[in-house]
C-alpha cells in the first residue's frame, strides 16, 4: 500500500513538475525575468550580504553616563617658571638710544628704533599737542565717528610720500598685514609666499584660507618652478584659471633674516605669470633707499609710533575700507600716535637723504666689523640695519645665546634673542637680532663688537 501511495504521489509530483515546465514555456518573457531576478536576490541576501549591525540609539541614562565621565584637559598646560618670557627685563623711561634697567643705563641694540625717533623731542611735542586737542582714545571704529581729521591727514601724507594714490592706516602693526591678506585673497585663490616671512603674514595667510605655495627663502628659481607648475595646471583648465587670483607675498627686508628680496626679478615674473605683489615693508621703510622710501626706491617700525598702513592705487586701497576686518571692526588709532607719525614723516622728508645715507653707511661699517669677529655667523644684507647673529653650527642654541645676552647686559649693552612661537611655518634658527640706531657713534659700535667678542670667549670656554 505504501508503495502504491508513493507511486501515486510521485506521479502527481511528476505531473505537477511537468505542468510547471509547461507553464514556464507559455509564460510571457518578462515574467520569467522577474522570477529569476527575485530568485537571485534571495540567494544574494541569504549568502552574500554582510550582516549590518543595527545601531540602537543611546538611552538617556547612557548619555548621562558619558557626560559624567567626560573630563576636559586643564585649560592651560603646566608652565615652566624659568621660561624667558616670564623673566623679561623690565625697562624704565624712554626706550631710545640708551635704556634704563634697574637703575643702570645701557646701549640699546635691541629695539626697532632705526632712526632714533623714539624719544625725539619734536615728535613728543606733537603728540602732546594732539592729546591737548583730542584726548587719548578715539572711542569708536572708523565707520562710527572714529575717523579724526588727523587720520585723514596721515593717510594723505603717507600716500604722497610713496607717490601712491591713497593710503589707509590701521591701529596695530600685526593686524595690518593679517587683515589685508584675507581682504583680497579668498578660498579659491593662490598665494605664493616666501618661507621666511614673519608670523603676522603667516597668520594672515591662514586666515584667508587660500591655497598657499611656499617657496624657499629668497630663492627665485624655486618660485619660478612653482609658478611654472601652476601655469601647467592653468592651461589644463583655462576657464577655472580665469577666476583664480594670484598673489605674491614678500617682505622688503626680512625681519627674520635681515636680507633683501630680489624685487626686479619678481616684477618681471609678475608680468609673465600674471600675479599681484604685496610687499611688507615694515623694516625696509625708513631704513633703505635714498630717501627712506624702502625697497621700491632702493631698487630704484622706524617711524617711532605704533600702527600700520598700506598704500596703493585708490581702487585697491578702497576695498579694504569695507572688507579688512582689522580696519572695520576695530577702534581707530589714538590721535596722539597719528600725530607722532605725521611729525616723523615730516622729519624724514626734511632730512631728505642725510638720515638714510647715514644709516646705510653705518650698517655697512657694522657689518664689516661683525664679520671680523671669528665665531659668529652674520645674517643680513650689508646695508640692512637689522642683522641676525648666530653661533657656528652645533653651538647655536637658545641657552648659549641667552648667556651672551646676559653677559652683554652686565656690560651695559642691551641686545635680545629673537623670539618666535613654536608653531611658525618655518622656524628660523635661534639668533640674536641686532638693530642699529642711526645715532650710534663709531666708538659705540666698536664697544659692541668688543663685548660680543668677550661674550663669545666666555660662552665657548
Amino acid at each position: 500500500m505504501g508503495s502504491s501511495m508513493a507511486r501515486g504521489d510521485i506521479e502527481n509530483l511528476a505531473t505537477d513538475f511537468f505542468g510547471l515546465f509547461e507553464s514556464f514555456k507559455h509564460a510571457p518573457f518578462y515574467h520569467i525575468i522577474i522570477e529569476v531576478s527575485l530568485l537571485l536576490a534571495v540567494v544574494w541576501l541569504l549568502f552574500f550580504r554582510k550582516p549590518r549591525p543595527i545601531e540602537k540609539k543611546l538611552t538617556e541614562k547612557e548619555k548621562q553616563e558619558l557626560i559624567d565621565e567626560w573630563q576636559p584637559e586643564p585649560l592651560v598646560p603646566p608652565v615652566d617658571s624659568n621660561h624667558p618670557a616670564l623673566n623679561v627685563r623690565v625697562l624704565d623711561g624712554i626706550v631710545g638710544k640708551t635704556v634704563e634697567i634697574d637703575g643702570r643705563k645701557s646701549l640699546n641694540f635691541a629695539t626697532f628704533n632705526f632712526l632714533n625717533f623714539v624719544g625725539n623731542q619734536r615728535i613728543a611735542d606733537k603728540a602732546i599737542q594732539a592729546v591737548q586737542k583730542y584726548g587719548v582714545g578715539s572711542c569708536g571704529p572708523r565707520g562710527f565717528y572714529g575717523t579724526i581729521d588727523i587720520h585723514l591727514e596721515l593717510e594723505e601724507r603717507l600716500a604722497k610720500f610713496f607717490s601712491c594714490e591713497e593710503g589707509i592706516i590701521y591701529s596695530y602693526g600685526f593686524s595690518t598685514i593679517a587683515s589685508i591678506i584675507p581682504a583680497y585673497s579668498k578660498r579659491n585663490d593662490i598665494l605664493f609666499v616666501d618661507e621666511g616671512v614673519h608670523y603676522a603674514i603667516q597668520k594672515g595667510v591662514e586666515a584667508s584660507r587660500s591655497h598657499v605655495k611656499w617657496f624657499r627663502h629668497n630663492d627665485i628659481n624655486d618660485l619660478e618652478r612653482l609658478l611654472a607648475e601652476q601655469d601647467v595646471l592653468d592651461k589644463k583648465n583655462p576657464k577655472k584659471a580665469r577666476t583664480i587670483r594670484r598673489f605674491l607675498i614678500i617682505e622688503g627686508l626680512y625681519v627674520n633674516y635681515g636680507d633683501i628680496c630680489p624685487l626686479p626679478r619678481m616684477v618681471e615674473l609678475k608680468y609673465k605669470y600674471k600675479y599681484r605683489i604685496f610687499i611688507d615693508e615694515s623694516v625696509s621703510f625708513g631704513t633703505i633707499g635714498q630717501t627712506g622710501r624702502g625697497i621700491t626706491e632702493y631698487y630704484e617700525y622706524s617711524i617711532g609710533s605704533i600702527g600700520g598702513f598700506a598704500v596703493g592705487s585708490s581702487f585697491v586701497v578702497d576695498h579694504q575700507r569695507l572688507s579688512a576686518q582689522g580696519y572695520c571692526f576695530s577702534a581707530s588709532l589714538p590721535p596722539l600716535l597719528a600725530a607722532a607719525a605725521i611729525e616723523a614723516l615730516n622729519i624724514m622728508e626734511e632730512d631728505h637723504t642725510l638720515l638714510f645715507e647715514t644709516i646705510m653707511a653705518k650698517s655697512k661699517r657694522l657689518h664689516k666689523k661683525l664679520l671680523s669677529i671669528k665665531g659668529y655667523i652674520i645674517n643680513g644684507d650689508e646695508i640692512s640695519a637689522l642683522k641676525h647673529l648666530r653661533l657656528t653650527n652645533s653651538l647655536n642654541t637658545v641657552g648659549r645665546l641667552e648667556e651672551i645676552v646676559q653677559f652683554a647686559q652686565s656690560r651695559d649693552i642691551t641686545i635680545t634673542v629673537a623670539r618666535y612661537l613654536t608653531d611658525e611655518h618655518h622656524l628660523p634658527e635661534p639668533s640674536i637680532r641686532l638693530i642699529l640706531n642711526v645715532e650710534m657713534t663709531d666708538e659705540e659700535l666698536e664697544f659692541l663688537c668688543t663685548v660680543l667678542q668677550e661674550a663669545l670667549v666666555k660662552v665657548t670656554a
Binding site: 585649560l75 624667558p84 592729546v131 587719548v136 572711542c139 593686524s175 569695507l322 623670539r419
Partner: protein, 520 residues
C-alpha cells in the same frame, strides 16, 4: 525712579541733582517686540526696489551710458580682476547711496558733544569735499560710556607727563625689550580692579581676541559661540583650528542641548572625546543691547565642566554698581569665569585690550601669545590713561569722580530708556545696558533718521545689513556719563520729531505718547 539724592554742590563732573546709585537687584527683563507686519513688508519692498534699480544702473554703467564713478582698476590684460563685481553690487548700489552716514570725520574730543567736519558731495556720495566748517552736535555715537574722553584735566596731565618721561612707543615686543615698569603697574592694578589673580594687557582690543584664543584652544577642542559674537571672536576661533558651533543668541536651553549632544558624540568622525570645551560670550552685545545671562552660564559651565570666556568690551566700567562689569552686575564670583577679557577703548577712552584670570592662565599667555611675542607693546601714554582711570574707579568713595560717573551713567541709561520706550519707539536690549538700539527696519529709514538728526544737531549711529539681520535696521544710541539731562531731553525731543516724520513709533507694547507725557 525718584530723584532721591539732594541737590549737590556745583561739581564739574556730575549732573546737578540727577545722580542716583544703581539698583541693587539685577533684572532679567529683556523685551524684544515682534516686528510689525507692515514694517517687514515695506522693508522687503524697499530692498526689492533697490535691487531693481541697482541692476538697471549697472546695466547702464556696463553699456557706458552712465559714467563709472568709483575708481576703476587699470588692469593689464591677462590679470584676474582683483574683486568680483557681484561682491560689490551691494556696495555700489545700496551702501553708496547712504555713504554720507558713515565714516564721518570729527575734529574734536569725542566727548558728550562732538565737532563734525562738514562735508558736501556733488556726485551723490562718490566723493566728498570739506567745506572747512565744523558742526557742533550732541554725540550719541562714540563709545564713551564713563565720559573719560577728555583733553584736559588731571588724567590728560598724567598722559602728557608720561609722553615726556617714557616716549610714545617702546618699539619692541613685550617678550623682548618692550616691557616697561608701567606695563607691570597696569597689570597689577587691573588684577586688583577686577578681583582676579593676574592680568595682562595688549595694544589692540581686536587683536587680543584674535591672537589669544588660539593659545587656549586648538585642534580637538570645541567652541560654543553665541550667534551675535563680535568678528574678533569669530576670527580668533577660526584661527585656533577648533570645531565651532553656534547657539542661538542668549538661548541657554539651546546651549545646554548642544553641550549634551556634543559631549556624547565626541569629535566629528573619530568620536574621540573633546580635549576642551570653551563657551564664548560677550558681556553686553553692542548691536542688540542685551546682556549675557551670566548666572545660568556659570551653572551650565560647572555642570558640564566647560570653560567660560567672557568678552567685556562694552560692559567693563559701564555695568555693575562698582563698574566692574557684568560679573559685578549679576553679583557672581569672578573666579567662576575662567577667562575675563575686555578692552580699554570704550569706558576707559584709551586703546587696547586685556585678559584677566588665574595666574597659570596669564603665565601661559605671556609665553604663548602671538601678541606678546611679535607685536609691539602698548604705548606708554595710553597705559597712563588707563592707569589713571583705574585709580579713579578703584576708589570706592561715593563722593569721588569714579563713583559719580558710574552712577551718572546708570541714571542716564534708566532715564533715556524709559522715556524712549514710553514714547512708542521699539527699543531692544536690557533695561540697564547703556547701548540703546531703537528699530528702524528699512534701509531708507536708516539714512533718513541719520540725516534728519544731524540737521537737528545730534550725531547718531544707524546700522543696517550686514551688521544686523536684513529686516532689522536700527539706530543705536550710546549713552555716556558726560551727557547731562538737558542734552538727553533735547535728543528725545528731536527723536520724537524725526520719529513722527518717519512713522517709527509703532510699538504695540508701549503705544506712542508725546514727549511731555513721558515724565518719570
Amino acid at each position: 525712579m525718584a530723584k532721591n539724592s539732594p541737590k549737590q554742590k556745583n561739581k564739574s563732573y556730575s549732573n546737578i541733582g540727577f545722580n542716583t546709585p544703581v539698583p541693587e537687584h539685577p533684572s532679567l527683563n529683556e523685551v524684544y517686540e515682534d516686528t510689525p507686519f507692515s514694517e517687514a513688508f515695506w522693508t522687503y519692498l524697499n530692498y526689492v526696489i533697490l535691487n531693481i534699480f541697482g541692476w538697471f544702473r549697472d546695466l547702464l554703467r556696463n553699456a557706458r551710458i552712465e559714467n563709472r564713478k568709483g575708481s576703476a582698476e587699470n588692469n593689464p590684460p591677462g590679470f584676474v580682476p582683483l574683486y568680483q563685481s557681484y561682491e560689490s553690487f551691494y556696495t555700489r548700489n545700496v551702501y553708496q547711496r547712504i555713504a554720507d552716514c558713515f565714516n564721518r570725520p570729527i575734529g574734536s574730543v569725542p566727548g558728550g558733544t562732538l565737532d563734525l567736519l562738514e562735508r558736501v558731495t556733488d556726485d551723490y556720495n562718490w566723493s566728498f569735499n570739506f567745506t572747512g566748517d565744523k558742526v557742533k552736535t550732541i554725540n550719541l555715537g562714540s563709545y564713551n560710556y564713563l565720559g573719560f574722553a577728555n583733553n584736559s584735566g588731571q588724567i590728560a596731565e598724567n598722559v602728557i607727563n608720561s609722553i615726556k618721561t617714557s616716549g610714545v612707543s617702546a618699539a619692541s615686543a613685550a617678550q623682548e625689550c618692550g616691557t616697561l615698569t608701567q606695563h607691570r603697574k597696569l597689570e597689577s592694578l587691573l588684577a586688583e580692579f577686577l578681583g582676579t589673580e593676574d592680568a595682562i594687557a595688549f595694544g589692540m582690543g581686536f587683536a587680543t581676541n584674535a591672537l589669544n584664543i588660539p593659545t587656549l584652544v586648538g585642534k580637538g577642542c570645541l567652541i560654543l559661540s553665541d550667534e551675535l559674537n563680535h568678528t574678533s571672536l569669530v576670527l580668533g576661533s577660526r584661527l585656533s583650528g577648533a570645531v565651532i558651533k553656534v547657539y542661538k543668541h542668549n538661548d541657554m536651553i539651546h546651549l545646554e542641548k548642544l553641550l549634551r549632544d556634543y559631549i556624547v558624540s565626541g569629535q566629528p568622525r573619530t568620536h574621540r572625546p573633546w580635549r576642551k570645551i570653551l563657551i564664548i560670550v560677550e558681556g553686553v552685545y553692542s548691536m542688540e543691547g542685551s546682556l549675557c545671562k551670566l548666572p545660568e552660564l556659570i551653572e551650565l559651565k560647572k555642570k558640564y565642566k566647560a570653560f567660560l570666556y567672557l568678552d567685556e568690551a562694552h560692559s567693563i566700567g559701564a555695568m555693575g554698581s562698582r563698574g566692574r562689569g557684568v560679573v559685578d552686575y549679576w553679583k557672581c564670583d569672578v573666579n567662576d569665569v575662567d577667562i575675563l577679557m575686555g578692552t580699554f577703548t570704550k569706558s576707559f577712552a584709551a586703546a587696547g585690550g586685556y585678559i584677566a584670570g588665574k595666574k597659570e592662565l596669564i603665565d601661559h599667555i605671556r609665553i604663548a601669545s602671538h601678541a606678546q611675542t611679535y607685536a609691539v607693546s602698548m604705548s606708554p601714554p595710553v597705559v597712563e590713561q588707563v592707569i589713571s582711570v583705574l585709580n579713579l574707579l578703584i576708589d570706592e568713595n561715593e563722593e569721588h569722580e569714579g563713583r559719580q560717573k558710574i552712577n551718572q551713567l546708570a541714571w542716564n541709561t534708566h532715564y533715556f530708556r524709559q522715556r524712549l520706550t514710553k514714547m512708542g519707539f521699539i527699543v531692544y536690549g536690557h533695561p540697564h545696558s547703556p547701548v540703546v538700539p531703537a528699530l528702524l527696519y528699512s534701509p531708507s529709514k536708516i539714512a533718513a533718521f541719520n540725516r534728519e538728526m544731524l540737521k537737528r544737531g545730534v550725531a547718531v549711529v544707524t546700522v543696517g545689513f550686514p551688521a544686523t539681520p536684513l529686516v532689522l535696521g536700527r539706530v543705536r544710541f550710546c549713552l555716556s556719563a558726560s551727557h547731562t539731562k538737558e542734552m538727553l531731553d533735547e535728543v528725545l525731543k528731536h527723536a520724537e520729531e524725526v520719529g513722527d516724520l518717519l512713522n517709527m513709533r509703532k510699538s504695540k507694547l508701549n503705544p506712542k505718547r508725546p514727549f511731555h507725557e513721558t515724565e518719570l
